[in-house]
């Protein structure tokens, strides 16, 4: 007769097999594997193409690239431009952030909304708008200047190094703004009061307490703005190329013009990649320094600095800065979209809707591009959110051995400029076994890779905010892992994941720097068409497409805010 002991032993022997089968496991491992392949393929291709040719290992590509004066000039230009952009962004972004978080500046919410608007405005669109505003001949600001002063010459010429720096800076400062604003919001007035009570005056306090506390954020803001302008393609192509100014990204692009020199593009990409990696590593180090952890602590009390009489002038100044990145460009886009001739005043004689009709109903290229853009946006956002969610869940709950390395892979595209990624993907997917070039799927892979970090970070912070004990609590009273995911995790993560979807979607529809190398006649997207139409001088149609792009972007943001019920895109109030 079996005793309780023997029954128990029998169960013990049967269970391991049963237990070893966790239905979620193959899904998790598959996703992790997919991510790693996604990241390693293009990078591997770039390194291979830059070091190997038919003859085997060679450094000839690097020698060819780095002995050419023109190429070296492009690198030098990029360094100069990016440094200035970084510097100006820190000044504008830092001041704005301080004004909004620490002073009694009026209309703060609206100003934040405007900063956000410049954040989501594609820089290539801004650059294009500024060619209409400050082109040396027909630019409206120059027309105005001539009309007012009677002068013959132009006041501004946007097709210069300074013009390029200016445009890139007004679209890069929001990155710095959000970083500094975060720090300012966490920095309690107590820290400054403590210095005050020990006898420091306001200036001394600012110099010895406030600035040092904000310094890591300022430096890392500089790095982020620097990196941003390092990897931009659209603005330098639109503003720099007409003046013969090459940057690294435009130079890589020219390697793809006939006859294509993939090997040189690859060799030219490697230093850009290394520079980006180094800068990101430096930024991590600066932000990670222990001494500054107090800033990350509890909010504490914050007192607002009274601007007094300067309140209104300062507000007007802020408005002026934002008019450079938002009001003026948006206005000129709208005006040109509705005009027969964009450079003359908009009256009834000049008014037309032809540009809209042409863009949406007549020109087959734009119709196809709009369709492709939406299709890619929706598919990439959906697949990207799914993968980012699974990866974030694995890393956050430590479900697989070595899960920490997945974080590294998911964030890797941060150090890969879009155009470099495109070089890698081009090499991989123009040859068997998988030929994606010529279809929109190569763009899909590019976007999926490029947007992975933003989707992953959003999903990760979502899971971080869901206490693991909430899941444990359902497991222990009878729910298995999948049921627990469905009943507890999914409803709690919903709004965060919708936000991730929106972030990816917006990122996709404005992407230019990778698309420009990967599109073909059948796989054009809106950003590429805008770039193409510029060559054809179709100003009105470009403006229509630009406005459509902006409207869709804002609609998605508003929808996301509505669904989530809070301002996902703004920093904390």
């Amino acid at each position: 007769m079996p005793t309780a002991e023997t029954i128990a032993t029998a169960q013990v022997e049967r269970r391991p097999w049963l237990k070893g089968w966790d239905p979620s496991l193959p899904v998790l491992i598959g996703t992790a594997f997919f991510l790693i392949v996604l990241m390693l393929l293009p990078l591997g291709a770039i390194f291979t193409a830059s070091f190997w040719d038919q003859a085997g290992l060679t450094f000839s590509k690097y020698i060819e690239v780095f002995s050419n004066r023109a190429f070296l000039t492009a690198i030098w230009n990029t360094v100069i431009i990016s440094s200035w952009v970084g510097l100006i962004s820190v000044v504008i972004g830092g001041l704005l952030a301080w004004l909004i978080t620490r002073t009694d500046l009026p209309w703060k919410k609206s100003i934040r909304a405007l900063v956000m608007a410049s954040f989501v405005t594609p820089p290539f669109l801004g650059a294009f708008a500024w060619t209409l505003l400050a082109g040396p001949n027909a630019g409206l600001l120059n027309q105005l200047y001539r009309a007012l002063t009677g002068a013959e010459s132009a006041l501004f010429n946007i097709f210069t190094m300074q013009g390029l720096i200016f445009v890139m800076a007004i679209y890069s400062f929001p990155y710095v703004f959000s970083m500094i604003a975060n720090v300012c919001e966490l920095m309690s007035s107590d820290l400054e009061d403590a210095a005050g009570i020990l006898g420091a005056n306001k200036l001394q306090t600012a110099w010895t307490i406030t600035l040092p506390l904000a310094l890591p954020a300022l430096v890392s803001g500089f790095i982020v703005a620097f990196l941003q302008s390092l990897s931009l393609f659209g603005a330098p192509a639109i503003l720099g190329l007409p003046a013969g100014i090459h940057t690294i990204t435009t130079q890589i692009w020219t390697f793809f013009q006939y006859p294509p020199r993939l090997d040189l593009a690859a060799a030219f990409s490697v230093p850009l990649l290394l520079a980006t990696m180094l800068l990101i590593a430096a930024q991590k180090k600066i932000l990670g320094r222990k001494g500054y952890s107090t800033v990350g602590g509890k909010g504490g009390q914050r007192r607002l600095v009274r601007l007094g009489r300067a309140r209104i002038p300062v507000f007007l100044l802020v408005l002026f800065v934002l008019s450079l990145s938002v009001f003026l460009p948006y206005w000129i886009l709208l005006k040109a979209a509705l005009s027969k001739a964009w450079a003359v005043p908009l009256d009834w004689a000049n008014f037309t809707l032809d540009n809209f009709r042409f863009a949406f109903f007549q020109y087959s290229d734009t119709q196809l591009a709009i369709f492709n853009t939406f299709k890619l946006g929706i598919i990439t956002a959906s697949v990207g959110t799914l993968i980012a969610t699974l990866i974030a869940y694995i890393t956050q709950r430590n479900l697989l051995r070595g899960a920490r390395f997945l974080t590294f892979f998911a964030l890797a595209p941060l150090v890969i400029p879009g155009i470099v990624l495109a070089v890698g993907l081009f090499i991989v997917y123009t040859q068997p076994p998988v030929v994606l070039y010529g279809t929109i799927w190569i763009l899909f892979v590019a976007y999926l890779t490029k947007e992975m970090p933003i989707g992953f970070s959003q999903a990760q912070s979502t899971f971080k905010s869901i206490h693991p004990e909430l899941e444990d609590a359902s497991r222990i009273i009878g729910a298995n892992r999948l049921v627990s995911l469905k009943d507890v995790t999914a409803p709690l993560a919903r709004s965060g994941l919708i936000a991730a979807w929106c972030f990816i979607f917006i990122g996709v529809i404005r992407e230019l720097s990778a698309s420009i190398l990967l599109f073909t006649a059948k796989s054009k997207v809106v950003s590429v068409v805008i770039f193409d139409l510029k060559e054809e001088g179709q100003i009105g149609v470009i403006c229509v497409l630009g406005i459509a792009l902006l409207l869709v972007t804002f609609a998605v943001i508003l929808a996301a805010q509505w669904v989530v019920g809070r301002e996902v895109f703004a920093t904390r109030e």
Binding site: A4, E5, A8, Q11, V12, R15, P16, K19, H467, E469, L470, D472, A473, S474, R475, I476, I477, G478, A479, N480, R481, D487, V488, P491, L492
Partner: protein, 362 residues
């Protein structure tokens, strides 16, 4: 058959042992506390019992059945256990009633039965009026009772509690201690209770297991732990303690620093000679300033320590004295408020050998 036994249990996190070679028997219907400072491995032990992490060595049995070992794991949902979490883990997207009813989904009950059970439990924890509220609309204490009801409604064989009271304010915490003990007496569910608060462990438990650095130090009834601590760690962690070190002769006489000899007591496994220390609880020390009274205590076998009052704090129900002994050691004494001495006053501190308990250093 809801006894739990932990056999040589070990769990490592990134190479560091969080729980090491842990041995513990918990009888059916027992209420056992795992007591220790933060990082001692008590929560890890609890989560091991629940089946969340897999042990690196050893095994856990429920009744006769192995539920955790290196080679097999019964998943948490099949262990017939409930757990109350430190964060309460009340689901914010479900109402109070939905939270409580959740576990019954997996029990194949009729709707009616399930509703009845939920209603009964909500009444028991006095939340029936709030059953349609969302957790965000509840106070901390109310959320805690939701967690309690949710854990009890599934009629678990074993109830696990992870510092359930640590997020409550002091008054509520004291009230809930008695509430938890009352519920235990009503349902007699085998319970493992994790806490770092010795008073909580004393108030609720049948037995207390003291843990330090992942190891079990002592298991026993609350009075045993308090009156007969086996190590200096237990003595100091559970209640206040004076630790007096000296040299032990055979025959339970301890020579202190200045040659003063005191009589001590100890368990069978206490040290018998060599360097040793005793634990003397402050409230077991009697103070007197009268020679005659001191002599009388000495005649009764008390150890006498001449000293000077250096500091005293009046607490209302007690007075906390610091008495400097002749060998410049401070002795803490808790005396009734009727015994008043001034700073600088010569006194005798007296302690019975039964209260001078030999403890091991580690």
């Amino acid at each position: 058959m809801a006894s739990v036994s932990l056999h040589r249990l070990t769990k490592k996190f990134t190479g560091m042992a969080a729980v090491e070679d842990l041995q513990l028997e918990i009888g059916d219907g027992d209420f056992v506390s795992l007591l220790g400072p933060s990082g001692c491995g008590k929560t890890t032990t609890l989560r091991l019992i629940a089946g969340f992490p897999q042990p690196d060595a050893g095994e856990i049995r429920v009744g006769h059945e192995v539920v955790s070992s290196v080679s097999l794991m019964v998943p948490p949902e099949r262990r017939a256990m409930s757990m109350i979490f430190q964060s309460y883990a009340v689901w914010p997207h479900m109402t109070v009633a939905q939270n409580v009813a959740y576990g019954l989904k997996f029990k194949k009950l009729s709707r009616q039965e399930s509703d009845q059970k939920v209603t009964k439990l909500l009444q028991l924890v006095r939340l029936d009026a709030l059953k349609d509220r969302y957790p965000a609309e509840l106070s901390g204490g109310q959320q805690q009772r939701v967690a309690l009801a949710r854990a009890l409604v599934v009629e678990p064989q074993i109830l696990l509690m992870d510092e359930p009271l640590s997020n409550l304010d002091a008054n509520l915490r004291e009230e809930m201690r008695f509430e938890i003990r009352r519920l235990h007496e009503e349902f007699a569910i085998t319970t493992v209770y994790v806490t770092h608060d010795q008073a909580e462990a004393m108030a609720t438990s049948d037995r207390i297991a003291v843990l330090n650095k992942g190891r079990m130090i002592q298991v026993g009834r609350p009075a045993e732990i308090f009156d007969h601590p086996k190590t200096r760690f237990v003595a100091e962690f559970v209640g206040k303690a004076n630790i007096l070190a000296g040299h032990l002769d055979a025959g339970s006489s301890l020579a202190l620093a200045d040659g003063l000899k005191i009589q001590v007591s100890g368990d069978a496994d206490a040290p018998t000679h060599g360097e040793a220390a005793v634990c003397l609880r402050p409230h077991n020390v009697v103070l007197t300033h009268q020679e005659s009274e001191a002599q009388g205590l000495k005649d009764k076998g008390f150890n006498l320590f001449p000293g000077v009052v250096r500091r005293h704090i009046y607490f209302g129900d007690t007075i906390d004295y610091s008495v400097e002994l002749s060998f410049q050691r401070m002795l803490r004494v808790i005396a009734p408020p009727s015994q008043r001495y001034d700073n600088g006053q010569q006194v005798y501190a007296a302690a019975h050998p039964d209260h001078c308990v030999l403890v091991k250093e580690a």
